[in-house]
Chain length 213, copies 2
DNA sequence: GGTGCTGGATAGCGCTATTATCCACGGATG
DNA sequence: CATCCGTGGATAATAGCGCTATCCAGCACC
């Protein structure tokens, strides 16, 4: 198909597709003549990936580019590609040079080690977790995340259960990355709903005088 | 304290504080003279709330304003204030006018009803959940979220367990909103870590020939 | 043989969060 | 009493991001 058809079928504006091509998010079409190129299903698929990461995952375009680059670097072993892609899903957090921060980072590491998880020592997610722990502590909120870690472990295992990582690279990344982002958002929404319900239960009848009886 | 001290102690640039004052995120200081006002711990506290929502929660300033407005509207019953604040935490999602969307929304409602959760019929989070379900379906991914819902319910209950909602308004909102945002981010990071570990386990040794033995 | 779509390049836009600049004033300080 | 720094208040400028619009030359296709 030509670019205009790709635009129609994907629902993405033509100018935007050109932009994605420029930015390297979308691979070039097959150049069939000097002023003509054809696109195929892989482009449609890629556009779906991009839009999902953008709209549901709210990832900045630069982060999506990192994911794409990992996919397209054929020399990268699969697990490393997945790691790189995954790292792009979280915000970049740089360590503060303070003792507080060191302690938080240590706690994050401990949380990981206690579960026997296999995580790269330089995984940026460690810092992300540390930063969150630090903020919690500074605000005087409870920082025991063991239960969260257990729960997260359970969910992650179940998610990967149904996933085949041994297919083509692009499929594997799509599955992992989209799964992370989409189920992440779903869970977050559910958690907020549960919160609403729970606090409704606790505050029931608080604003009216209690019913007689 | 004066505004410059507030800036120093909070780490927020003076011009930014002025901006927050203009936007109504930060309440005015006590006007002690025509060109002099004093700020106190409540301002420091508020700044911490704002920064946490902004940096950890990645909420747009407009959404933070909604939270603040809910806090400051004394006529709002507590549970309604919490609801309003909570709704600002999720992205606004407007329904597509399609059958697919209707179905997704129905599924979201069912997921909620099945658990006997008490959720306002017009809670925007319902749409957020529906949208996510729709995207999952369109991408051909599994859409059974019962387990997620169960898990989320458990976590939410535990979180509210340790929270007192009967204190001053600002504390209640802070607790709920910061809890939602911070523990949400923590859980998300943990989930990604668990993912990394799990896929490392599954792909172990895939790129090297398996060790002898 | 026109003409409509294409690739390619560059410029502009709309929004958000912030930062900078300017101004007049008045309280603290000497 | 002079002065001068920090202040409140207003407005303008900035930076980054995700597009979107414009222009152009060329060729495939009718």
């Amino acid at each position: 198909m030509r670019i205009s058809e790709l635009s129609d079928r994907s629902g993405v504006a033509l100018a935007t597709i050109k932009y994605y091509l420029r930015e390297g998010l979308l691979h070039q079409g097959e150049q069939v003549a000097a002023t003509r190129a054809v696109y195929d299903d892989s482009h449609l698929r890629r556009l779906r990936l991009i839009r999902a990461l953008l709209e549901i995952g709210r990832l900045p375009v630069a982060a999506i580019k990192q994911v794409i680059d990992a996919v397209e670097d054929e020399s990268l072993p699969v697990h490393q590609m997945l790691g790189t892609a995954q790292y792009a899903l979280g915000p970049a957090v740089e360590p503060e040079p303070s003792d507080d921060w060191q302690a938080a980072r240590a706690e994050a590491d401990r949380l990981i080690d206690e579960r026997g998880w296999t995580i790269a020592p330089d995984a940026p997610t460690r810092n992300e977790l540390a930063q969150t722990l630090l903020t919690l502590r500074r605000l005087g909120m409870p920082t025991d995340l063991s239960r969260y870690a257990e729960t997260a472990g359970g969910l992650a295992a179940a998610e990967l259960e149904s996933l085949r990582l041994d297919g083509p690279r692009e499929s594997a990344v799509e599955a992992v990355v989209l799964g992370t982002v989409l189920y992440g958002r779903a869970f977050d929404a559910l958690r907020r709903l549960a919160h609403e319900s729970e606090s409704a239960r606790r505050l029931a009848g608080e604003d009216q005088p209690p019913a007689a009886g």
